[in-house]
Subunit: 410 residues, 2 copies
């Protein structure tokens, strides 16, 4: 019998309780023993809940109880989750989490503690909801050197972009709809629309793939606030779809770059057709070529079922999982993990003529349309740094930058 404590009884935490009970028989068969929830830790009042006797307000009774072998952390955020996870690992309990913020900020440290204490720290549910991404990456691609990751890993923004592309909704209306459906925070939606959530997730994937800690705050980011229906029209005319893409790339010399940015994804790319709240992550291995993992990026039961699979994995395989699921500590850098490569960009300037556009970006730009005072064009073969420098010049000359969308190359 394995006894589990759940920290945080929100959407995901309550889903874990439900999944462990509903599929108890098959989970028992696969884990090799019954798996039962003994404690639920939440500071809120659940005295009227059918499982009221399970609730505690603090982690102390959990770490003092020698029967508990697995702690599920679904609190989210860095504190108090960090303190709780550390205490659980150091007292010899496996920790399973969906908390991407904590993994992205402190993953290397917590993995090292887990390894030292002979337990697991697993986080399949932190990226892609229930879609298996992390386990296939470290296990099935074990014989590969991973060179590139390209993903749609924020369901909320992908839902909004789908509505903008197919129903002609502008950003504000799409955001209001996402909020009314519970996909986006009703208070401050910036974690989603400004790419913060995607920065965390791509940091986790890159850390795992490349073997050292990458920090979310060092990932250059461009959100989707500036995107308009007009950009969607221009994308469609170029046989592409607009998605918020999180990517990471490693070169042969070991150097790496990461980014989160809205991109024009050519229709023939497998990621182009990923719509609504779905996620998809393309992983390129040196032996395997490209594989794509696709599924719903969020949701109570999908995410909870990923946590349940991690519980089974921890009970069966223990700390040796960390022979492959591991990365080294490193320090955050000054600045960002800059993209050194030249690329092609679609650009929309808010108040600019073709002449002004050419003054700024050069005579070689391909003008697509001028409409309601906005200039839309492609710029070929230019670095991110050059784009940013030109944008600073433009802004100081009073030109408003609309969208900057890189063309994704296959």
């Amino acid at each position: 019998m394995a006894k589990v404590a759940i920290l945080g009884f929100g959407t995901v935490g309550s889903g874990v309780l439900e999944v462990l009970r509903r599929n108890a028989a098959s989970i028992e068969r696969r884990a090799g023993c019954p798996v039962e929830v003994k404690y639920i830790c939440d500071i809120r009042d659940f005295s009227q809940h059918p499982d009221a006797p399970l609730f505690v307000k603090d982690i102390d009774p959990i770490v003092r109880d020698p029967e508990i072998s697995v702690v599920v952390e679904t609190i989210g955020g860095v504190q108090p989750a960090y303190r709780y996870v550390k205490a659980a690992l150091e007292s010899g309990r496996h920790v399973i989490t969906s908390n991407k913020e904590l993994v992205a900020e402190h993953g290397a440290e917590l993995l090292a503690i887990a390894r030292r204490c002979g337990v697991c720290y697993l986080f399949e549910a932190s990226v892609g909801g229930g879609t298996p991404i992390i386990t296939p990456m470290h296990q099935c691609l074990a014989a590969n050197v991973i060179t590139r990751i390209v993903g749609i890993i924020n369901g909320t923004t992908n839902f909004m972009l789908t509505k903008m592309a197919h129903e002609g909704m502008e950003f504000d209306a799409a955001l209001a709809l996402a909020q009314s459906l519970g996909y986006a925070e009703t208070g401050d939606p910036s974690d989603d629309v400004d790419g913060v959530d995607a920065q965390r997730k791509i940091s986790i994937l890159a850390s795992l793939a490349f073997g050292r800690q990458f920090f979310p705050q060092n990932v250059p980011v461009r959100g989707i606030r500036e995107i308009t229906v007009q950009d969607m029209v221009q994308a469609a005319r170029q046989n592409a779809a607009v998605h918020l893409i999180a990517w990471a790339k490693r070169w042969e010399d070991g150097s790496a770059a990461l980014g989160v940015e809205p991109m024009l994804v050519p229709n023939q790319n497998q990621l182009a057709g990923v719509e609504d709240v779905f996620n998809a992550v393309l992983v390129e291995g040196d032996m395997l070529g490209e594989v794509v993992f696709y599924g719903k990026g969020a949701g109570k039961l999908p995410t909870a079922s990923a946590i349940a699979a991690d519980i089974i994995d921890a009970l069966k395989n223990g700390v040796q999982i960390h022979d492959s699921l591991f990365w080294q500590e490193s320090e955050p850098i000054e600045g960002v993990y800059e993209n050194p490569q030249k690329g092609d960009y679609y650009i929309r300037l808010r108040n600019a003529t073709p002449a002004v556009s050419r003054d700024l970006f050069g005579d070689a730009i391909e003008m697509l349309e001028v409409r309601e005072g906005e200039a839309m064009f492609n710029v070929r073969n230019i670095t991110e740094r050059e784009i940013n420098a030109i944008c600073r010049t433009a802004q100081s000359a009073g030109v408003q930058i609309g969208s900057i969308l890189r063309h994704l190359k296959n």
Copy 2:
């Protein structure tokens, strides 16, 4: 140090040698020890090969050598692979294979032998080439009851159908191209084009998902020989693409149906855009909803890298993998695992008028086009058994059946 023997030095077998050497360092780190090939068993003459000293002509020296812990079987076919695999398992060696025919015919028996002998029998490479499908299915979806599998799992036919759809090639030309590129057998291509290969792979996936052995010969099959460019045109007009789909479905009462058949896949379905030799498998879990695994379905290094990942898995986790990677023995049935559900079908009759079509399939058919003596129409809400009965009637009345393509429902 783990010592490996490779049985069969064809494309995949030589790929395994290459992958184990090229990524030796990361494989050692993940497996916990160096992994080295000690024998290669092949009846052909490799005396001029740089690794000539490794070659043996029979399995005997391998099973007599106590140093060998892993046997890789890439011979293909049932015999002598079956005898070799059994001998290896019974002498206490893990067996890793890409041999889908053997797994599909004797999987349950060989899994039971592996479990009894305390070793692994792993076959990730048998479906989807290097694309991780089997491991995520049994491991990441461990907390799910799998209810449905829908896949494009034969790269050769998918390549041919892509050429027919996009370049207007007829079947014979597409087959000749596939043969010239090495995708299809130059002798008898029927394993691919008649769906035999897909029958084997879907049997493996269904056996794993549903927990009991399903046999390839019981899977109802319709190949792609009858498909014409005209069918591609009709599919496109209905916003769909034609793919050879292998599927399996289980109902709540435990009954199951399987099939391999060309289908009209609506463009908004994630499988519609899968082109060329790529494979994609959609798996539906009761908690998770739909996930899709996508990648190149074949190729020397991708397939070999899946075998290498299985070797690592066997060395690290041993026989306990079979707590979840397992299915029960069962007997082949008389007849086929019939699809009991009604569906919608697109049908092309070779020499029939609309009146004859209506006589056969009813007045409610939706006539799409009559062209060069061929009638093309949709029939709604009809079972496979009814379709087959009508086709027998038609043929006895001298009407030639062209294509029968079910519309895939999301």
